[in-house]
Amino acid sequence: MNKKVAIIGIGITPFGELWTRGYRDLITDAGTEAIIDSGIDGKDIEGLYIGSMSPGRFSGQEHIGALVADYSGLTGIYATRIEGACASGSLALREAYLAIKSGEMDVVVVGGVEKMTDVPTSSATVTLMGAGDQEWEAFKGATFPSLYAMMARRHMFEYGTTIEQISQVAVKSHENASRNPNAQFPFKVTIDQVMNSSMIADPLRLLHCSPLSDGAAAVVLASEAAAKELSRDPVWITASASATDTIALHDRVSLSRMDSTILAAEKVYKKAGVKPDDIDFAEVHDCFSIAEIMAIEGLGFCKLGEGGRMAQEGELSLDGRIPTNTSGGLKGKGHPVGATGIAQAVEATLQLRGQADKRQIKDAERGLIHNVGGSGATTVIHILERN
């Protein structure tokens, strides 16, 4: 059994509507960058895990493990795809982490990828709704924005959260994205622009919603022994945890909090032996701006119901108490669903290495990454540390 697992290499593509890059191009770009960054050689790699939500619906392509091994020049190695809707990336990271922890492997590459813009928007929307309950939500005409809109409505009703507070999350995300050259939307927006953007599902507007995106990200993981031999700059994954909740939103105990996040957070803090106060920064799953507020509450950065106030008072900004989504988040950076969890690991690694350039935060020693599937039926959380 291996005690510790390190990230020794990272790679990421630009996120956006990338007409010139196909599914296999994106993941090959990100994977190659991660392997070069790690300094290892192809022959060192023992396994390949790919997080991807729906290549079958988005590209007509299944059998992703073998495809990616093939186009990465790694034919012959163990390769598989992991799926958990928008949490596919982090689930793949967790499976690779467990493979190393078990002692079965010492060097593993984990990729996340989605190519969402080769199909019409309406078709992509239907595919994404597969993350919810097909028979009892989608059939009734529910869309993903509508599910998060109903969470926002309850949060506003129960806690007095305001649309200004929810909008402030989007303003902050775009501010951070303006400092990230790989972001889909590398520009700032004003709160007036957010609050006057077109209505999607009341009270959520266009600029409260993450976009459809193409993109990929990859990391190289290594056991402690392999990391010490192969890497001069490892970042350690000190805890990994995941939890589930009901597939349909209507079956939840509460709509104003995310219990899978609360449960996974309890587990991950216990495993790492830390408290929410010990976290220096976080990448959280802001598929909709209300989701970031519910995430920071569920992660224990504030009490339930106080997330809106935290956003409004700037506590989530780059110079705030707990900088959140320094990358721009799903809103600003983009959300190629399978890639998102791995992109979060890439951002946290950049911050911990001190390589986050214009969005670098001070004294980053410990970061948390939080990835959600569907309307909260899956949460995966990892804690990454410098030492």
């Binding site: 309406s122 078709s123 929307t125 239907v126 709704m129 309950d133 028979e135 009892w136 939500e137 989608a138 059939f139 009734k140 005409g141 529910a142 869309t143 924005p145 509508s146 809109a149 109903m150 969470m151 409505r153 309850r154 009703f157 077109s198 209505m199 999607i200 599902a201 009341d202 009270p203 959520l204 349909a248 939103l249 209507h250 079956d251 709509l255």
Partner: protein
């Protein structure tokens, strides 16, 4: 995406008549129906029950960017309804002005056309809800 007939046919009792299930072991009622009680699991005792269709709005939204095939209705209201017997379900709320929607308002179920699979496809029916106050 169009599907075969069986997938719609087998859900007719639930979608037309709000037939769900109840665990006689712990008393919890389920809609949509569950075959396995999450509280009692293998010790549960599941039987069918028919829900009254009476309930209250728990949350709601007005959808401006519609799901596939529902563009002609936009904007349309979707809600999570708490049935008087306990369970919550997702449904459209129809025959109302958007400004009349509010958390806590009473609703009851009505039988409606839900979606048509294109010009020559299956017409699927089911429950929607309307305000009763």
């Amino acid at each position: 995406m169009s599907k075969g007939v069986a997938v719609h046919w087998r859900l007719i009792p639930q979608r037309y008549n709000l037939i769900g299930t109840e665990c006689k072991g712990c008393g919890q009622k389920f809609f949509p129906p569950r075959q396995l009680c999450p509280n009692c699991r293998r010790s549960g005792n599941i039987t069918e029950i028919t829900f009254s269709g009476e309930g209250k709005i728990y949350s709601y939204t007005l959808i401006h960017v519609p799901s596939e095939g529902l563009g002609f209705m936009k904007p349309y209201a979707i809600g999570i309804i708490r049935l008087d017997e306990g369970p919550l379900l997702t449904a459209q709320i129809v025959d109302c002005k958007p400004e009349d929607l509010a958390i806590g308002k009473r609703v009851n179920s009505v039988f409606r056309k839900v979606i048509v699979d294109g010009d020559s496809g299956i017409i699927r029916y089911g429950y929607k809800f309307k305000l009763t106050e």
